[in-house]
């Protein structure tokens, strides 16, 4: 469909939504909620998947990239973490090193990832989806599940098409929409309709035709090992899994398999999560770039990740009861330690003290650190915390944290940061290093 056609249709759909809102009257309610409240209930579930999202996001702000083979590179500039369909056609695979990618696709254009921008667009997609559905699950940065509600006077197929066109028109990102009787079916449907597709399949015969040609590995939760186990029982396609005896599936791939079995047979087992369930743990970390044996630099990364972790604790309003520090060395060695805190906290000084103790125990002089993880666990809400007798005074630390937060909100993230991170000025100078995929909040799937 041409861009003009898409825009025209999207405009029509928007008008349809607006007219519907006006017809329903009801002053005082938010227009969006009003329209959706009047829509008929449905059991159908939708799955929306942005097409090559990182590349599409880059194209939103740089139209020159449209139609060209584009690869988005990861943190270190070494691997392709996302690619356009043009680059895929040249044989480049996700995760492939750039040096292999340029052999397959010499015309490829390589772009540094910018997760902050991708989150902005992800939130815009989420906002736009709420115009179509009262229940939306923010599954991942580029995937959403939703209660599929037909627009007034439209079928679910037409609604899926309208949603797809509206999101392209308003957000600029091409997406594929699949609608089915369960989350698993909806995801399989959208997978087959990519790219820029829209497909609603609600009849069992249509589902069976789809499942017949899909291997079980297309299902989330079934990877090579489970597929091999199922294959021993003659189950290779999704349809064979759906038609298998439920008790056998449960026996072979446990309760997860049973849930999938129900979902493949059109019985929704997995609920829509419109709010993220509370965290059991929060973590920050990853690669530190060039591996180093420089103690000060590694400690700088530890403190940097602590500051990022505290941002997460503050956002989710939880205190950490324990901190785990894991260091990975480039020769494959790992060392880790868990430090229990006297009382749960999100205070920088107390968490830093715990980390200092832990760092002494995991630091292996002479070995080069390549990755690290900092994990806060035993999370508690502040109101449900037993205070300790020997904690340093709370008020100065609270006021300092508040001041730091306010300065960084006004001047930019990390404008005010710990002096221990001065060894990482090269990292802080690069804005795009400051925001990583794990800083994106609200999604269900990592």
């Amino acid at each position: 469909m041409s861009q003009e056609g898409v825009e025209s249709q999207a405009t029509t759909i928007l008008e349809s939504v607006i007219v519907y809102k006006l017809c329903c009257g009801g002053r005082g309610l938010p227009a969006r909620g009003l329209a959706l409240a009047a829509m008929p209930p449905t059991k159908a579930i939708g799955h929306l998947d942005a097409d090559c999202f990182y590349v599409s996001a880059e194209r939103v702000r740089d139209g020159f990239l449209k139609g060209k083979p584009v690869g988005v590179l990861g943190n270190q500039g070494a691997c392709v973490i996302a690619k356009s369909y043009e680059m895929k056609a040249a044989g480049v695979k996700t995760g492939e090193p750039i040096w292999e990618a340029i052999q397959k696709c010499p015309d490829g254009i390589y772009v540094k990832r910018d997760f902050r921008w991708y989150e902005v667009l992800s939130q815009r997609l989420l906002d736009a989806m709420h115009h179509f559905s009262p229940e939306v699950e923010y599954y991942s940065i580029d995937e959403f599940f939703f209660r599929a509600v037909p627009l007034p006077g439209r079928t679910l197929q037409q609604t899926a098409e309208a949603m797809r066109d509206h999101l392209l028109h308003t957000v600029g990102v091409p997406v594929t929409v699949g609608i089915g009787r369960s989350k698993t079916l909806a995801k399989l449907i959208s997978d087959t309709a990519k790219p820029f597709g829209a497909l609603a399949l609600l009849e069992r015969e249509d589902e069976r035709r789809l499942l017949r040609r899909m291997p079980v590995t297309e299902i989330s939760g079934i990877a090579a090992r489970r597929a091999a186990t199922l294959a021993a029982y003659g189950i290779r396609t999704c349809l064979e899994l759906a038609d298998a005896q439920r008790s056998l599936v449960t026996q072979v791939i446990t309760a997860t398999g049973e849930a999938i079995w129900w979902e493949l047979n059109g019985e929704p087992i997995t609920p829509l999560h419109t709010q993220r369930p509370p965290h059991k743990m929060l973590s920050r970390g990853g690669s530190i770039g060039k591996a180093t044996a420089d103690r000060q630099r590694v400690w700088g990364f530890v403190v940097r990740n602590l500051e990022r972790l505290i941002e997460g604790l503050e956002f989710h309003r939880v205190w950490a009861g324990a901190l785990t520090l894991l260091l990975q060395y480039d020769d494959g060695l790992e060392s880790g330690v868990q430090e229990e805190l006297l009382t749960p906290t999100m205070r920088f000084d107390l968490l830093l003290d715990a980390l200092k103790r832990g760092f002494e125990r995991v630091w292996l002089p002479g070995l080069r650190v390549s990755r690290m993880h900092l994990i806060a666990s035993q999370l508690r809400r502040p109101g449900f915390v037993q205070r300790g007798l020997f904690e340093p005074p709370e008020e100065p630390a609270r006021r300092l944290a508040q001041l730091k937060r306010e300065i960084n909100e006004q001047l930019g993230r990390f404008a005010l940061r710990s002096g221990a991170t001065l060894t990482l000025n090269d990292i802080y100078r690069d804005q795009e290093q400051g925001y990583d995929i794990c800083d994106i909040r609200g999604k269900i799937c990592f």
């Binding site: 449209k66 270190q76 500039g77 540094k112």
Partner: protein, 155 residues
């Protein structure tokens, strides 16, 4: 080795395309056409914002060329900052670019790269690309130890 830039076809005025015969530099890799300016071109030139307008200027001097100007295509930013070019009254300029090429890797450039313009004996302005030690990211991406100075971005 930084080996060239590409601009979107629409970024270059038609009169410049005609005057400098840039049509032969047009390249199509999908989407909008681009115009490439490569180190290996027979006529080595770059687009430069100079004296208030976009101009096409010679990119450095080839080794065979007899001149008091350095026979190179690049110069270290530190050399410029230390005054190494002062005697030639250099002017810092922007070389607009949408992509750069280094060791076979085309990478996206948001605005352009920094350059320096000096005049040769005949008064012809010549542009050199400013370079600096490569960041970790750039070194991994291109395997080059140095990189062009980019305008308004760090990669």
């Amino acid at each position: 080795m930084f080996a060239g830039v590409a601009l979107a076809f629409s970024q270059i005025p038609t009169y410049l395309i005609e005057r400098h015969g840039l049509n032969r530099r047009i390249y199509h890799r999908g989407g909008e056409d681009e115009i490439q300016f490569l180190l290996g071109d027979r006529e080595r030139v770059l687009p430069v914002w100079f004296e208030g307008q976009l101009q096409i200027l010679p990119w450095g001097l080839p080794r065979s060329y007899r001149s008091t100007l350095p026979s190179t295509a690049w110069t270290w930013r530190s050399t410029v900052e230390e005054g190494g070019w002062n005697a030639l009254e250099p002017q810092l300029v922007c070389i607009p670019a949408r992509m750069g090429l280094d060791r076979g890797v085309w990478f996206r450039i948001r605005e352009g790269v920094r350059g320096l313009v000096v005049h040769d004996e005949s008064g012809q302005p010549v542009v050199y690309v400013l370079v600096e030690p490569a960041t970790h990211y750039y070194r991994i991406m291109t395997r080059s130890d140095w990189m062009p100075c980019l305008v308004g971005e760090a990669i």
